[in-house]
């Protein structure tokens, strides 16, 4: 028994990190109603600032728009070479700084980041539905991480420990002192936050604004300013955790960003309300992980399935589900609309044209474009999966790529190891993914919005950790192999011969196969949108209670949504497996799921044709390739821009590029039509139907001038109030 206590004590290091991050998450939520997925990224970013100041005396400037560069480029098109000043990547601030100064600099940056998040992103989004905020937060996470990768590459960096590191003997085990200092710091911070929220006027105001923003406004409380101060505090807290914990975890762009997942779990158990619960649960997760880890090592009877990594998260999901918690609402009016799921129809001639066009590209275009088109189509299938589950049904699922991975794995087991023929193997593989997907969908029956996003994220991690890595029943190599698919002796894999084309890889045969599969999926989703099932999904998305009252079977529709979406993800996974031939399960990880989600949202989460736009944003797809050919290869900047675009999209055009494109094309077209009419002396100014159809924006109606009020005066008939 004593040993188990020892083991749990050893988990203090991770526990303190999870607790510290969870504390900041709860603070942010209580102050502004936002679940900040990028909280860990703030911690990471501040630590890099600290490291850069202490080691080199340099302050990194994130990639920023520079209008002068634009002028340079434009002049360059005309052949004029100018060299205007650039924004330097680093600012040299003298010699390497002392650690107190560097700490101040880093924490100031952290506070500034918190403020900017609030002011530039979450304040404008405050009346939007949770989807927008989750997306924006994911975008910020991607951006911060990418900014560090751009500036610092990946050279390992060591951060000097600010806290004493000598071992302390406790309960017969040695634990470095810094864990205890960190624990003390976190507990003090928790106590302080608790006191501030309970006793100080600022704390009471924050709680008031959190409960009902409008009532708070009537009392002269600026919810906005309160949120800003709290965001700054949360940022500083994140920075502190990151810097003090860096010697424990090492410094790289990915760590802190991913530690947010257990922290989110802890905050979720605390309902994003209680500081103490969040901290204790965070510590418990750390202790639990350590306990399981050591038990796995010391006790041979425990199956070796990475219990320590996946279990705490799964337990949280189960706990949340059992309690049926919903994040406390904020009493603020949710005025924003969900991304519109525009009605759609199949236009046979247009579709035939595009199919033939795509086929032509897949046969005769240079191989780079062929592969890009294939990547686009496969990405589009994955995007279709998100369109069904998030766009139509309103459930934020961050586990789609993990489901794709399950299908890919099953395909290689069935087709290559067990010799199942096409199409039995891929279909069954997709069905296995569907099974998992429905299981993931069960929490959606009781949990919504950001909470569901957290649970699906945890599920994705659990899949990665339990299934993709271990020697468990998904046993074997993490490198999988899939042979080229074939039917009736005709091969249509990337290396299969084809009678037309240049004979290079990827084979047009494979491209046409992918095109075929995509078309099937595309048409299927259109039909879904047009069907009763699709309407019911949309009804559920809009208002679950009203839909239930109208007779929609909530459970079966929700599970159907997850089922269909996972089947599509599974198909995407099998196509990916065929595409690579030999692949590693690591490519279906959690970060990948976040990227797929990001691209799908960017392309257009609620419109079927949005899937194509989304697909073109995937790595090495048409969009990125075209950009590379026209301008320059994006390389490391791709993730940064993806994150930035994501935020801009939530702020400005939640329907994504698809609707933006449609509307702007119509607007430009209308501009031309107007010009033509003016030129030909046509006085008609009415908009044709094809312009009006893409949602007309409501016009500002001016109030009408009414007649004056009647006045009663007993004594006279004197008129009061002029006419």
């Amino acid at each position: 028994m004593e040993t188990y206590l020892q083991f749990m004590l050893l988990g203090l290091g991770s526990g303190v990190i999870f607790a510290g991050l969870a504390l900041g998450l709860v603070l942010t939520y209580r102050a502004s109603g936002v679940v900040n997925f990028a909280h860990g990224a703030i911690a990471m970013y501040s630590t890099y600032i600290f490291s850069s100041l202490v080691d080199d005396g340099q302050y990194p400037i994130p990639p920023l728009p520079n209008l002068l560069s634009m002028i340079e480029a434009v002049l360059g098109w005309f052949g004029i070479q100018v060299d205007l000043p650039d924004i330097p990547p680093f600012v040299q601030l003298g010699d390497p700084w002392s650690w107190p100064m560097a700490l101040i600099g880093a924490l100031a940056t952290a506070g500034l980041l918190g403020f900017l998040f609030h002011y530039l992103v979450f304040r404008p989004l405050r009346y939007q539905p949770p989807l927008s905020k989750v997306v924006a937060s994911v975008g910020l996470m991607l951006m911060l991480q990418a900014a560090i990768v751009v500036r610092f590459s990946n050279r390992p960096r060591n951060v000097a420990g600010l806290l004493p590191q000598d071992g302390v003997d406790v309960l017969g085990t040695t634990v470095p002192a810094d864990r205890f200092y960190l624990l003390a710091a976190i507990l003090v911070a928790t106590a302080l936050l608790y006191l501030v929220f309970q006793r100080t006027k600022f704390g009471i105001k924050t709680r008031a604004a959190a409960e009902n923003e409008q009532f708070a406004t009537l009392l002269g409380i600026s919810a906005d300013r309160i949120a800003a101060v709290n965001w700054i505090l949360a940022g500083i807290l994140a920075g502190l955790v990151g810097i003090l914990a860096a010697p424990i975890t090492g410094l790289n762009p990915l760590n802190m960003t991913l530690f947010i997942i257990p922290a989110l779990g802890a905050a979720l158990v605390a309902r994003f309300q209680s500081f103490w619960i969040a901290v204790w649960v965070g510590l418990a997760i750390g202790a639990g992980q350590s306990l399981l880890q050591i038990m796995e090592i010391r006790l041979p009877w425990i199956p070796d399935i990475n219990l320590s990594q996946g279990l705490p998260l799964v337990v949280i999901a189960v706990a949340m589900m059992a309690r049926g918690q919903v994040l406390p609402s904020r009493g603020a009016i949710e005025r924003g609309r969900l991304p519109m799921a525009l009605p759609t129809r199949i236009r046979p001639r247009l579709m035939t044209f595009w199919i033939l066009f795509a086929a032509a590209i897949l046969i005769w275009a240079p191989f780079v474009w062929r592969q890009a088109t294939i990547n686009t189509l496969i990405g589009a299938v994955l995007a279709l999966s998100l369109i069904v589950v998030t766009g139509f049904s309103g459930h934020i699922s961050l586990a789609q790529l993990s489901l794709a991975g399950i299908a890919a794995f099953m395909l290689s087991s069935l087709a290559t190891d067990a010799g199942w023929p096409f199409p039995l193997a891929p279909i069954f593989a997709a069905l296995v993914a569907t099974g998992f997907g429905i299981v993931i969908g069960v929490p959606a029956l009781r949990v919504r919005g950001a909470s569901l996003a957290i649970i699906t994220l945890a599920a994705g991690v659990a899949i990665e950790v339990f299934l993709f890595k271990s020697d468990g029943w998904f046993a074997g190599d993490s490198t999988r192999h899939v042979a080229d698919p074939s039917l009736f002796g005709i091969e249509f894999g990337p290396n299969s011969p084809f009678f037309f084309g240049d004979g290079k890889v990827p084979s047009p045969a494979f491209g046409l196969f992918v095109l075929f599969m995509f078309t099937l999926a595309f048409v299927a989703v259109i039909r879904l949108r047009q069907s009763m099932l699709g309407e019911q999904m949309l009804a559920l998305r809009a208002n679950e209670r009203a839909a239930a009252a109208a007779g929609v079977n909530v459970t079966s529709i929700k599970l159907a949504a997850f089922g269909i979406a996972s089947f599509l993800a599974g198909i995407g996974g099998t196509l990916t497996a065929y595409k690579f031939g030999t692949f590693n399960m690591a490519s279906f990880g959690v970060l990948g799921s976040l990227s797929v989600f990001a691209f799908s949202y960017l392309g257009g989460i609620a419109t079927v044709s949005g899937s194509l736009y989304a697909g073109s944003l995937f790595p090495e797809s048409i969009g990125t390739l075209a950009f590379e050919k026209l301008f320059f290869p994006l390389g490391r900047y791709e993730a940064y821009l993806a994150g930035l675009f994501l935020i801009v999209t939530t702020l400005v055009q939640p329907e994504g590029i698809d609707v933006f494109d449609r509307r702007e094309r119509r607007r430009i077209g209308w501009g031309f039509v107007l010009l033509w009419r003016k030129a030909t002396g046509n006085p008609d100014r009415t908009k044709p139907d094809w312009v009006e159809r893409i949602y007309p924006e409501p016009k500002h109606k001016k109030g009408m001038r009414p007649s004056p009020p009647a006045t009663v005066d007993a004594a006279t008939t004197h008129e009061d109030g002029g006419s």
């Binding site: 520079n66 634009m70 650039d86 990946n154 390992p156 780079v368 020697d471 030999t582 790595p619």
Partner: protein
């Protein structure tokens, strides 16, 4: 309504300006194809037709090895400045990939589809699975691939100058068992198929010597490595062997061990010899297994390479820069042999000739052991180099502790079965 429309265009404009700024900033480096420097070198010294060296390196992503790319480039630049291959300059044609396997596939396809590319120099490519698939289908050999895992070593037509995980871990273990005479050994490996396999085999070795192994696997994504080390019951063991698969893990591991005041021998993999870790002081006194002599004071190859890096803009030495540098020298040696076999005619340097040159190459390797032979022993066809040696860090110098071990890889085959 107008305001939103204006905002949209403003946002687009800002993003565009950002893109252009990214283009012109120096570290954005316009190209994933980088032939500029070699072209300049070509005109200044060697004036004959260049010999193309198609190369792939992962440099754009969270996992990135830009230093390793710089090392190879510097060595090629130096070689060209010396006159190149009989007057032919080497044209270092680098395609950089990112984290996503699609970019690796894209680089590989470009080479596979290019008839004038007869091989690929693969520097650091974690997404090796897709690279191998494309190259195998195109039947082009891969030279100097850094061995990441068992599948790498099983690839036919891959000729690696780096011994890779298994021989190096074995060397370290044999040194511990034979030279240090320790018996109760803690083996810390990463928790994936590679790490576990390595751990299993090393444990087996220890038992062969009548010792007691404690195999500990750590998950790379875990926040704190301390529990892992403590699980080893440090009082009962005589020494720890730490074999990371990821360079970042060295930091937390060394920190944890230092804070535990573990004063018995600690042995680590070469990833932990990166300059950052040396500077931190946390790995002082550690014993490292290395596959090259780049870090060893007094070695001629080391002096030469450091001089090259100084002059041609190479990276700080240490960590995986060592195997990458050795790889560059290996590629040069193979090309020289192939050139000779082709009768000094660069147009006759086909895939087959290069393959044979690699297969027939027996060393000595610059920065490497004298004994070198491709192909590797069945089934580890790609494992040409199974030699490693052991050094110890004192302050900031690495002292050679022993001669090159030549590891017998036959028992590894048994590992694959079970």
């Amino acid at each position: 309504m107008k305001k939103i429309a204006q905002l949209r265009w403003l946002a687009i404009l800002a993003v565009f300006a950002l893109l252009v700024a990214a283009c012109s900033s120096s570290d954005g480096d316009g190209g994933s194809e980088d032939t500029s420097a070699s072209e300049t070198t070509a005109t200044t010294v060697a004036a004959k037709d260049p010999i193309r060296v198609p190369a792939i390196n992962q440099e754009d992503g969270v996992t990135a090895f830009p230093d390793e790319g710089l090392a190879v480039k510097a060595i090629f630049d130096w070689y060209n400045a010396q006159g190149g291959l009989d007057g032919h300059p080497l044209e270092f044609d680098l395609c950089t990939a990112g984290d996503d396997p699609e970019s690796t596939q894209s680089c590989a396809q470009a080479i596979a589809n290019d008839d004038s590319a007869t091989f690929v120099h693969s520097i650091m490519v974690p997404n090796s699975a897709t690279l191998f698939d494309v190259m195998a289908n195109a039947e082009k050999p891969i030279l100097a691939h850094n061995q990441f895992d068992i599948p790498d070593a099983l690839q036919p037509d891959v000729y690696a100058s780096d011994p890779g995980l298994l021989p190096m871990a074995t060397t370290l273990m044999l040194y511990t068992l034979e030279d240090l005479g320790l018996r109760n050994i803690g083996v810390v490996v990463s928790d994936d198929e590679v790490g576990r396999g390595t751990g299993d085999f090393l444990g087996f070795l220890v038992e062969e010597y009548g010792g007691t192994p404690t195999i500990i696997t750590y998950d790379a994504s875990v926040a704190d490595l301390l529990p892992v080390f403590s699980a080893a019951d440090l009082d009962a063991i005589d020494g720890i062997i730490f074999v990371p698969t990821s360079v970042e893990d060295c930091g937390p591991a060394s920190q944890a061990l230092k804070s535990l005041s573990f004063d018995k021998p600690i042995l680590g993999g070469d990833a932990c010899t990166a300059q950052t870790y040396v500077d931190s002081g946390n790995v002082d006194g550690w014993i490292f297994v290395v596959g090259t002599t780049l870090l060893i004071d007094g070695d001629a190859g080391r002096d030469q390479t450091i001089a090259i890096f100084d002059e041609y803009g190479g990276p700080p030495i240490g960590g995986l820069v060592a195997p990458a540098s050795m790889g560059a020298y290996f590629v040069i040696d193979v090309l020289e042999a192939a050139y000779e076999a082709a009768g000094n005619d660069i147009t006759a340097m086909t895939e087959d000739l290069i393959r044979e040159a690699a297969l027939g190459y027996t060393g000595p390797l610059t920065l490497g052991p004298e004994v070198f032979g491709c192909p590797g022993v069945d089934p580890f066809v790609g494992l040409c180099n199974t030699s490693a040696t052991v050094v110890q860090l004192e302050g900031d110098t690495f002292n050679l502790l022993t001669d090159w071990y030549v590891v017998d890889v036959e028992p590894y085959a048994a590992l694959l079965e079970g």
